[in-house]
C-alpha cells in the first residue's frame, strides 16, 4: 500500500509522494516527481504503491499494465488511453478525466468516487467492486461492461450509456440520470 504519511505542509492532509515529506502539490521538486511518475506510467512494468496527487497528465497512451495499491487522487487526465490496463485497490478519487479511453480494462476494488468524467469510453471493461459514487459523467460510455458490485450512488449521469452491461449488485441509489440508457442490461438486479 502507498505511504500513509500525510503532507508536512500546514492544513494539508494529502498523503506524501514516495519520497520527501510533502505531497506533490507542496513539493519543492515537482518537476522531478512528475518525471519519475511519467517514467513509471510509460514503462511496461507494473505500477505499485505509486502516490502522486494533484498532478496533470495529457496526451499519451499508457501501455497495458497493472496499477496496484496506488493513489492518484485529485489528478487531471486529458486525452489519455488506459486501454487494457488493470487497476487493483487503486485510488483515483476526485479526479478529472477528459477524453480518456478505458477500453477493456480490468478494475477491481478501485475508487473513482467524486471524479468528473467527460467523453470517456469504458467499453468492454470489467469493473467489479469499484467505487464510482458521486461521479459526474457527461457523454460517457460503459457499454458491454461487467459492473458487478460497483457503486454509482449519488452520481450525476448525463448522456451516458450502460447498454448490454451486467449490473448485478451494482448500486444506482440516488443517481440523477439524464439521457441515460440501460438497454439490454439487467437494471432490475441493481439497487436503485
Amino acid at each position: 500500500m502507498f505511504n500513509f504519511t500525510t503532507c508536512s505542509h500546514p492544513n494539508c492532509h494529502t498523503y506524501i509522494c514516495e519520497e520527501g515529506p510533502t505531497c506533490y502539490r507542496h513539493s519543492s521538486n515537482k518537476k522531478d516527481l512528475y518525471e519519475h511518475c511519467m517514467t513509471s506510467l510509460l514503462k511496461n512494468e507494473e505500477v505499485v504503491d505509486l502516490s502522486l496527487t494533484g498532478a496533470e497528465f495529457e496526451n499519451f497512451t499508457i501501455p497495458p499494465k497493472n496499477f496496484t495499491s496506488s493513489n492518484m487522487a485529485w489528478c487531471t487526465f486529458r486525452n489519455l488511453d488506459f486501454s487494457h490496463c488493470t487497476f487493483m485497490t487503486s485510488f483515483f478519487d476526485f479526479c478529472l478525466f477528459e477524453n480518456c479511453r478505458f477500453n477493456e480494462i480490468t478494475c477491481r476494488y478501485s475508487v473513482f468516487a467524486g471524479s468528473k468524467m467527460i467523453n470517456c469510453d469504458f467499453t468492454n471493461s470489467i469493473i467489479n467492486h469499484s467505487n464510482l459514487s458521486g461521479i459526474d459523467t457527461y457523454r460517457c460510455n460503459f457499454n458491454a461492461c461487467d459492473l458487478y458490485y460497483s457503486n454509482f450512488c449519488s452520481s450525476y449521469l448525463r448522456d451516458t450509456s450502460f447498454e448490454d452491461c451486467n449490473l448485478k449488485k451494482a448500486d444506482f441509489f440516488f443517481t440523477d440520470q439524464r439521457r441515460v440508457s440501460f438497454r439490454y442490461s439487467n437494471y432490475e438486479e441493481a439497487r436503485h
Binding site: 500500500m1 500513509f4 500525510t6 494539508c12 492532509h13 494529502t14 498523503y15 502539490r25 494533484g54 495499491s69 485529485w74 485497490t89 485510488f91 478519487d93 476526485f94 476494488y109 478501485s110 475508487v111 468516487a113 467524486g114 467492486h129 469499484s130 467505487n131 459514487s133 458521486g134 458490485y149 460497483s150 457503486n151 450512488c153 449519488s154 449488485k169 448500486d171 441509489f173 440516488f174
Partner: protein, 202 residues
C-alpha cells in the same frame, strides 16, 4: 503494509489479509468463507497467519473460521459482547493492540449489532457492517439506527477524512467520500473539501 482483499459469493463478504511485508506474520479480518483462493493468497505471499480479527459475530463474517482452524492456529480477537464456541481474546473500545508489528486500534461502533467493532490499522479502517460505501449497516429498528448514526458520527467521522475504508461488504472508500456522497450520513452536514482551494492556487 500490504492489504489484500478477498471476496466470496458465499455471504458476499470481503475478507482482508494484512501483513507488514511479504513473508511476515499476517492478520486476517472477517474470514466469511475460506476457499482455495484465499489460502493461495496467504501462501503465495509466504504469510504466516497469526491473528484473526472479527468485526462482529454474523455468519457471513465468521463462517470460514472452522476451515481456517484445520490449516492454521490463529489467535482470534473479537468483541466480548458475543459468545463464541472457540477460544477468543476479547477486545474493547479504545484498546490498542500490537499485532504482527502493526498497531491496531479497536473502536466499538454499536448499532448494526451490539458487538460491532471497527479496526484501524495505520490509515486503513476496517468497518465490517457499520459503514459501507453509500450506506450504513442494517439495523433491527430505528433506535439501533439512531445509535449506529451517533456512533459513526462520534467515532468514525471524527477521524482524518483521508482514511481509507475497507468495509465488510461492497467497495473500498474513504471517509471523505462517505461524508460527501453517503445519503445516510447527510444529516451530519456538508464537508469542506480542499479541492476548491487548490484549484484556485493553481
Amino acid at each position: 503494509m500490504r492489504i489484500y482483499q478477498h471476496f466470496s459469493v458465499i455471504g458476499f463478504c470481503n475478507t482482508y489479509l494484512i501483513g507488514a511485508k511479504q513473508g511476515s506474520d499476517a492478520i486476517l479480518i472477517d474470514p466469511g468463507h475460506v476457499d482455495i483462493e484465499l489460502i493461495n493468497l496467504i501462501e503465495s505471499n509466504e504469510f504466516k497467519l497469526k491473528y484473526v480479527l472479527l468485526t462482529h459475530r454474523h455468519t457471513a463474517h465468521t463462517a470460514g473460521l472452522n476451515t481456517l482452524f484445520k490449516i492454521y492456529q490463529p489467535t482470534i480477537f473479537a468483541s466480548g459482547f458475543s459468545a463464541y464456541e472457540y477460544p477468543v481474546t476479547t477486545v474493547q473500545d479504545h484498546e490498542m493492540l500490537n499485532l504482527c508489528g502493526l498497531d491496531v486500534e479497536v473502536i466499538h461502533v454499536p448499532g448494526h449489532s451490539l458487538d460491532s467493532m471497527v479496526y484501524k490499522i495505520d490509515h486503513a479502517l476496517f468497518t465490517g457492517d457499520t459503514l459501507m460505501c453509500g450506506r450504513i449497516g442494517t439495523t433491527p429498528g430505528y433506535r439501533e439506527q439512531a445509535l449506529l448514526l451517533q456512533s459513526i458520527r462520534q467515532k468514525i467521522m471524527s477521524l482524518d477524512e483521508n482514511i481509507l475504508l475497507f468495509p465488510g461488504h461492497g467497495t473500498p472508500s474513504k471517509i471523505r467520500i462517505e461524508r460527501m456522497f453517503n445519503h445516510a450520513l447527510l444529516e451530519l452536514g456538508t464537508i469542506e473539501t480542499e479541492r476548491k482551494n487548490w484549484r484556485e492556487d493553481e
